[in-house]
Amino acid sequence: MVGIVAYGAYVPRLRLNRQAVYDANKWFAPGLRGLAKGERSMANWDEDSITMAVEASRDCLTSHKAEDVRNIYFASTTHPFKDRQNAGVIGTALNVEQNLSAMDVGGSLKAGTSALIAGLNASKDGAPSLVAAADKRMARVASANELNYGDGAAALLCGTENVIARLVGHHSVSMDFVDHFRGEDAEFDYGWEERWIRDEGYSKIVPPAIKAALAACKLKGSDITHFIMPSLMPAVPKLMAKLAGIGEGAVRDLMGASLGDTGAAHALVMLVDALEGAKAGDRIMVVAFGQGVDTLVFEVTAEKDKLPKRKGLSGWMARRKEEKNYMKFLAFNDMLPIDKGMRAEFDKKTALSVLWRKRDMIYGLVGGKCKVCGTVQFPRTQVCVNPNCHAIDSQDPYAMAGLECSVMSFTADSLTYSPDPPAYYGMITFPEGGRFMADFTDSDKDQVKVGARMRMTFRIRDNDQMRGGFKRYFWKATPV
């Protein structure tokens, strides 16, 4: 029996207040008034779809060993790299490389569900597959998309053991219905009229697809407990459910008011939301629309209640900081030619050969543990750092990304260039041993204190814009 064995999610801490966006733009686009409600998630300057997918994957793997994962599928329409496997970065960050097949899935808003179908199929023989989906879509200033989109990620572990949601069946149709597109050179989506999308797209393409999926699963519409279908038009999922005979009460909230639409990730984000509250026996239908339709049906099992606790979508949603500064949103997303000063001009060229040699240290945050004295240290070096040891070639790799640490000393630096000044950084120490001077992220003045408990998070360190945007990733400390 194949299905979902664990889930995880990630939502950036910042939530952009839509009224603040509207207030700034209403002189130009007064028609957006109806959307000026609630908030949308907003990635910090050091987050992209890779970093969010890493966080969601870590959340998902709370209860499982990363090294058991045999396949990673990473769905997004905003992969940071066109040529460099994005899923591979996630694998390295999770310290999984050997016996791993990795694949990026993109090109459509149903990339998340397509990746999930692939992951489930790949896991039929028992090989666990991690399906991560994340999106951080850009939208034009003063557009509806700017208000509707959100940034976020979800991850699902597929397998055959201790399945919490059994795959009942799935069905797909693919057709080139272009409701919107983003060309190779475009930063933003270009969309057609909503009424046409609703009447000629959704209404004519989705109901037959759902019916075919129900037939394949030998179910009726009324058998569905949770109906998940992302759409920028909130009335559409209800309409589709109705046309398929699915009860209105089954239609899941799109989380538009508090999160926004997370693109290719959204179907899976909503699935995690549903799984968190689902009971054994619940049937969940996931529908994603994008040049066709993917439909998946799951049945929640009794194993679900045994799944160890994780932060999950609700946990990350609860970690929230309201952002009313629309200018900051624009600056973080490079939509504002802000004066960064000369300190922003330092060359960020990455020595790829060094990155390869040290990838476990840089992407995996793997330090060392001395076999002689037991001292944990970061980075792992040839000579033990313990002044009373100094043994040579004595260290075993020691993964530190999952360890909690605390602040020994810190500062808020207004001199160094940071997209979000002042830059917080400080010496963090791990109780097991090991310390290093780390950048802090998602940190506020009142949270950063000597002794404050921190966790490590995978983030963008630098963006080499001189060379087309090679992003350097490393781990930062963030308040627990």
Partner: protein, 399 residues
């Protein structure tokens, strides 16, 4: 312990350029400005120099690498020139090379010259963006103020000092240096400032404000060293000799091992202890007449006075507030204004500190002359609290 070099080397002459934002000068002009004074003071001919040590720390923004820039600028007689770099401790490193050449008998006359031309970068503060390709992948996005600010947070934590008390104490450190710098015509900053101005200055890296940070300056300083015997034979009086030169370099225990609490300089404690031993100083608080220490940041000076074994650990802030290190205090510190006001052209700073000791010991310090100093100690630090080079020099009257 090795026998050391106490009284084996004498300072024959010294020179120091005016420090500051020397828009009029490049590194070459600054070198020559210090060298001319130094050579004249030494009273020898350039052709008598047998070896030279040349210190710069951020040479990529001014002269470039190697010993050639010094040899070319001064048109030295094709003698060995060694370019040394040990971050902000580079100046003392040049002096150490020259002293060791004389002490070993390899040279009768050796030159140490340090220079830094920082004000051609187009922005304030130290040039950034250096470090190797691995460091660039993981080191925190920090600056010197940010690294030293953490000394303050760790010091407060270790000793239970309130933010307010520490801010006042480090404010007093800077206040005192501004008082002193006002009497120094070669200093970068020559204005006394009020405590209120210091305490209310904009934050650079909390808790360090603008006045807690030293100036970034252009400048050069030089010394010619020989043996005391040769100095005497040349008819010199009031000879200043080297009593001790010690260096201690971090090996990663502070930055990588949890035994260090961040509140002190491990290396300074080691280097100063060895220096007292080399100089035969038993009770430094009673025997050292004056200090020039590496006050790159006010808190650095405060903590350093503990690590030099002058103030009790955790009590240095009280000594500071009591005026112990003021010009009229028990042991004046930064009588020339220090890095804070004289300025900090990195490769020159260690030699600049020695320049003040040399002037004071010879009674040539003009309006800031102290009464009858006998032993002067310099402390020149490179790097950050967690990884650094501490170099100390003790000089005194040759008796």
């Amino acid at each position: 312990m090795a026998r050391g070099i106490k009284d084996k080397v004498a300072i024959l002459g010294m020179g120091c350029s005016k420090f500051g934002e020397r828009w009029d000068s490049g590194a070459e002009e600054l070198m020559l400005e210090a060298y001319k004074e130094c050579l004249k003071d030494a009273g020898i001919d350039q052709n008598q120099l047998q070896a030279a040590w040349f210190s710069t720390a951020i040479d990529e923004v001014h002269v470039g690498k190697s010993g050639i820039p010094l040899s070319m600028t001064l048109r030295l007689p094709n003698i060995p020139v060694t370019h040394v770099e040990n971050m902000c401790a580079s100046g003392t490193e040049a002096f150490r090379g020259a002293c060791y050449a004389v002490a070993s008998g390899a040279a009768d006359f050796a030159l140490a010259l340090g220079v830094e031309k920082l004000k051609d970068t187009g922005y304030g503060g130290l040039p950034g963006g250096r470090g190797g390709p691995l460091q660039a992948l993981w080191n925190a996005n920090g600056t010197a103020p940010g690294n030293f600010a953490q000394l303050a947070t760790a010091y407060m934590t270790a000793h239970g000092v309130s933010g307010e008390d520490l801010k006042k104490a480090i404010g007093h450190v800077s206040w005192k240096s501004h008082q002193n710098g006002a009497k120094n015509a070669k200093a970068h900053l020559q204005k006394a400032v009020e405590m209120d101005t210091i305490l209310n200055a904009p934050m650079i890296a909390s808790p360090l404000g603008l006045f807690d940070c030293c100036g970034v300056s252009d400048g050069a300083a030089a010394a010619i060293v020989t043996t005391p015997e040769i100095a005497k034979a040349l008819g010199k009086h009031d000879i200043v000799s080297v009593k001790a030169l010690q260096l201690s370099v971090s090996n990663g225990s502070e930055s990588g091992h949890n035994s260090w609490d961040g509140s002190y300089f491990h290396t300074t404690r080691i280097a100063s202890k060895k220096a007292y031993e080399e100089a035969g100083i038993k009770s430094p608080r009673d025997e050292v007449s004056m200090f020039e220490v590496h006050d790159c940041f006010s808190v650095t000076e405060l903590v350093t006075m503990e690590d030099l074994h002058i103030s009790e650990t955790g009590k240095g802030w009280r000594d500071v507030l009591d005026g112990f290190y003021d010009a009229d205090g028990k042991i004046p510190c930064q009588i020339d204004g220090g890095l804070k006001c004289f300025g900090h052209p990195i490769g020159a700073s260690g030699l600049r500190m020695l320049y003040e000791m040399y002037l004071q010991l010879q009674g040539k310090a003009g309006p800031r002359q102290l009464k009858d100093p006998r032993i002067g100690m310099t402390h020149n630090l490179g790097g950050a609290p967690r990884e650094n080079i501490a170099s100390v020099a003790i000089v005194g009257r040759y008796e």
